[in-house]
């Protein structure tokens, strides 16, 4: 499906949006891809982490003497062996740097690292943990944000009144006037659950400190550059003395760009012993101590006219921040911003409060606050349409963003295909005909960013960088700081490079995941790499190509009004494509012309004057067909369709995979992936009890691509694959609403909630009849 709202000036493409195999595919399907999990260095020791059994306690003392006596144990470290630096990824703001990964005097959640052991085997290290004696003074604890903000609640961090760690206010337009003009106002409270990232590769790292005072770290992460910078900060080292290697990464989903216990403790142990130390989290450790999607309490009040015109909205949100801030500060902002999406409001106001509790810290996860925002917004909008007797699709359509929409002080929408998304989903719903009695369809709209314009990390470098080097045989080395965590960025970058240079994907070798050899880049988060790293790669490739073509122009004698180009390794005059020469011949001439120096192209990208949030936004509308067993409350997903505007698709196979994968994670958030806590303890930290979508539960995830042209993106591209984590929970909720008239205000929707809601509804109807 190709419907351009603007003609793409770069067409026709030779490589972009064609069927290109993943460039890492060979390694991954033959078992040869070496992940951090697989790294084994000579003389390597194995580390294990002792974790707090208490949600809140002072550490009075730690006695490791018995552990150290155990044969095979090489070292035990505690907070006292560290510099005690309070770190956080928002390192520009000291207040938000609040986490010592090995705390010196206090633990704030169950599972927090307290000590770490290195031994010659993992088994011995584990035995040694039992021999470490920790003297705790247990403190009163608080687990829910609405309790933690009460007067007299236990103080989790010194100096944070009512445990509020971050507040965020967003406002534009005329909010009061908008509500005054409203003919119908609805307010609702919602509760949004957490969610485990559940990367298949648990957090792991291998650190190797050598006598020349250099530290090499293999780590499963989303941003090697962030890891390098953060580790330099906590270790008191220079960034340049730390090398971070992130070979293949077994998933990230927003959970692997903060420092974790594996990286930090392995480094501290290695620095003490001058030996490589490897730490791999067990699945249980990964569940209880590697952060999670931020649970939120949402209050939202929306005013509309009777014809369905949106007037004003205000929202108040309290998030369960857990023990530390980390990336949660960004999620707090983005949930507020995307709660307005994808609609135009006369006035919009948001106040968010991130609240410390004695639970696992919460952070970014795929969707970055937007799945919570849409769970609340898209259900409330559906209910408003029902309250007013309006068509929910047409009501959404008339209020949606368009090309040129301005969100005052926040963003300007340069490309927006959502209008066509409404057409596609309407068509799909019609095509389904009459559904069986136990099935219904729910819809949900949203939009998402293409990378954040935030520099809370305080990087002095460009947001993205790339270097293109052309070898004498026409092969190309592409060095990027972008990190491939499975989303396929290596392939996307290779496609952009090949398209720009005019060569084939197989001519390009992508180098990533190595801070010594790749240029800095903020890494894989907030859907930033296709646009930002892609722009850097395009610029680097254009730069190299220009240098090459200078030699071609010099020998061609072509009239200055004619241009040369390279396509499919053929250097030619655009007006006379048959006249030209082979790419490799030109490369060799250029080499001679440069006195033997390879052609090197550099590219970089930092967004400027693109608002507060992101340079570009994707849009989507999703329909989900849901079946419900009324007796058991069991939900099954039968079918789905997403109309999706990601600008110009670059990596065809990667795009389909990302959208299908996002659906499965989003659906899991909607009805399966529940994280129950009791007194600060996660009750299901394993894959038997934590339910996720498996193959039999996954419905078709059909995609209708709405191609627009995004002027800020490389070849017109923008975000894909993260935004689609946002709509599904609400779409499921809306399907339940249409089928039964029940309003689900908490996600994930568990069977007992459906059963209870149905019973309450029946009781209410029964009472009314009387």
């Amino acid at each position: 499906m190709n419907k351009y709202t603007v003609i793409n000036p770069h067409e026709p493409f030779r490589v972009i949006n064609t069927h290109v195999h993943n460039v890492d595919g060979w390694a991954k399907i033959t078992g040869r891809a070496t992940y951090t999990f697989d790294v084994k260095l000579p003389g390597m020791l194995y580390g294990k982490i002792l974790r707090s059994p208490h949600p809140h306690a002072n550490i009075k003392g730690i006695d490791a003497s018995k552990a150290l006596e155990l044969d095979g144990v090489k070292a035990v470290v505690t907070g006292k062996d560290t510099l005690g630096v309070k770190q956080g990824i928002w390192r520009r703001y000291k207040d938000l740097c609040d986490e010592q990964i090995l705390p010196v005097d206090k633990v704030r959640y169950i599972g927090e690292p307290v000590a770490a052991v290195a031994a010659i085997t993992e088994e011995i290290a584990e035995k040694a943990l039992d021999l470490i004696e920790v003297d705790y003074e247990v403190l009163p604890a608080v687990f829910e944000p609405l309790d933690a903000i009460k007067k007299g609640a236990p103080e989790i961090h010194d100096g944070f009144e009512r445990n509020i760690s971050v507040t965020r206010h967003i406002e534009w337009g005329e909010v009061e006037e908008g509500f005054e003009e409203s003919e119908y106002i609805r307010e609702d409270w919602f509760r949004c659950g957490g969610q485990a990232h559940m990367c298949m590769e648990t957090r792991c790292a291998v650190s190797s400190y050598t006598p020349d005072k250099k530290l090499t770290i293999y780590s499963s992460n989303q941003s090697p550059y962030y890891m390098q910078g953060l580790m330099a900060g906590v270790l008191g080292m220079r960034e340049g003395d730390i090398r971070v290697l992130s070979p293949y990464v077994g998933g990230g989903f927003g959970g692997k760009f903060e420092l974790d216990g594996a990286i930090f403790c392995s480094a501290i142990l290695s620095m003490k012993l001058y030996k490589p130390v490897k730490i791999v989290y067990t699945r249980e450790e990964d569940f209880i101590a590697s952060k999670r999607r931020t649970p939120m309490f949402y209050y939202t009040r929306t005013g509309v006219k009777k014809d369905g015109t949106f007037c004003a909205r205000e929202a108040k949100v309290f998030t369960n921040g857990g023990a530390y801030t980390g990336m949660g500060a960004t999620a707090l902002y983005l949930t507020g911003f995307f709660h307005s999406f994808p609609y135009i409001w006369k006035g919009y106001r948001y106040d968010g409060y991130r609240v410390y509790t004695n639970t696992l810290p919460s952070t970014s996860m795929r969707g970055f606050g937007a799945p919570q925002a849409m769970w609340c917004s898209e259900q409330q909008i559906e209910w408003i349409a029902a309250d007013l007797g309006l068509d929910p699709i047409e009501m959404r359509r008339k209020n949606s963003h368009k090309e040129g929409t301005i969100l005052p002080g926040q963003a300007t929408i340069a490309s927006c295909g959502i209008d066509l998304c409404y057409d596609e989903i309407t068509k799909w719903i019609k095509s389904k005909g009459k559904l069986p009695a136990n099935r219904s369809i729910g819809i949900s709209a949203c939009g998402f960013m293409s990378g954040g314009i935030f520099n809370w990390f305080d990087s002095p470098y460009s947001f993205s960088s790339a270097v293109v080097t052309i070898n004498q045989d026409g092969t190309v080395e592409l060095h990027v700081g972008a990190q491939d965590i499975g989303q396929g960025s290596n392939t996307t970058m290779a496609i952009i490079c090949a398209e720009t240079l005019g060569v084939k994907v197989e001519d390009i070798k992508v180098h990533s995941g190595d801070t010594d050899n790749c240029p800095p880049d903020l890494g894989a988060w907030g859907s930033r790499q296709t646009l930002m790293s892609g722009n850097a790669v395009k610029m680097a490739s254009e730069n190299a190509k220009k240098q090459l073509l200078e030699f071609a122009y010099a020998q061609s004698g072509l009239n200055i009004v004619y241009d040369l180009d390279i396509k499919d390794r053929w250097v030619h005059a655009i007006a006379r494509p048959e006249r030209g020469e082979d790419f490799v011949q030109l490369v060799r001439k250029a080499l001679r012309g440069k006195d033997g120096q390879k052609i090197v192209g550099r590219g970089y990208y930092t967004p400027h004057r693109k608002g507060m949030i992101s340079p570009a936004y994707s849009y989507m509308l999703q329909g989900v067909e849901v079946e419900v067993d009324e007796e058991t409350g069991k939900i099954s997903l039968i079918d789905s369709m997403t109309a999706h505007d990601c600008g110009q698709p670059i990596n065809h196979l990667g795009l389909i995979g990302q959208l299908e994968g996002a659906f499965s994670m989003a659906a899991g958030y909607g009805y399966l992936e529940y994280m129950p806590y009791e007194d600060g303890k996660l009750m299901n930290p394993n894959l038997v009890d934590y339910k996720m979508i498996r193959a039999p539960e996954m419905p078709p995830a059909n995609i209708a691509e709405i191609d627009t042209y995004e002027p800020e993106g490389p070849y017109g591209a923008k975000e894909a694959g993260e935004g689609l984590t946002n709509p599904t929970a609400a779409a499921i909720g809306n399907a339940l609403f249409h089928r039964f008239g029940i309003q689900m205000k908490e996600c994930p929707v568990r069977p007992e909630m459906v059963v209870n809601a149905l019973r309450e509804k029946k009781e209410k109807e029964h009472a009314e009849k009387k």
């Binding site: 069927h19 195999h21 993943n22 890492d24 595919g25 060979w26 390694a27 991954k28 399907i29 033959t30 078992g31 040869r32 891809a33 070496t34 992940y35 999990f37 697989d38 084994k40 559940m198 990367c199 298949m200 590769e201 648990t202 293949y248 990464v249 077994g250 998933g251 989903f253 067990t282 699945r283 249980e284 965590i485 499975g486 989303q487 396929g488 196979l653 990667g654 389909i656 995979g657 990302q658 299908e660 994968g661 996002a662 659906f663 499965s664 994670m665 394993n686 894959l687 038997v688 996720m692 979508i693 498996r694 193959a695 039999p696 996954m698 078709p700 995830a701």
Partner: protein
Amino acid sequence: MEKQLVRLNVNEQDYDIYINPKTLLVEAIRDYIELTGTKRGCDTVSCGACTVIVDGMAVKGCSVLAIQAEGARILTSEGLEKNGKLHAIQKAFLDEGAFQCGFCTSGMLMSSVAFLNESKNPTEKEIRDGIEGNICRCTGYNSIVRAIDSVAKGKYTEDKA
């Protein structure tokens, strides 16, 4: 427990390893034979990342002891490709993009191969049930189902000849 010498046949090669009898098959393959394509993703026999084929059957390598596999023919993801020639399921995974981070892929491939060996004309539901024991957090499974289906439908038969 006293260590013992165990002979395992992995990918048509005998390996003699000296292990504690309680060593799991996945540990023997990864840590002693050093074929690290087979992964581990949980401690509860739930994720399938460690799936290998033992005498034609898909087995989770964390659910059996290495000594129990003595005398059996064990196949891992490293043994699928022969002299640079990919197995049909590997080609299908490439064509369908049936992997992303790749961490579940080895186990998923082995479950797929075992399933295809037993099911000649599977329905989509049968394919889905066939890989129910393998978790993939990235793809949402549909591309994997398409890959298995295309092999079952004979798309890659010419490669087998």
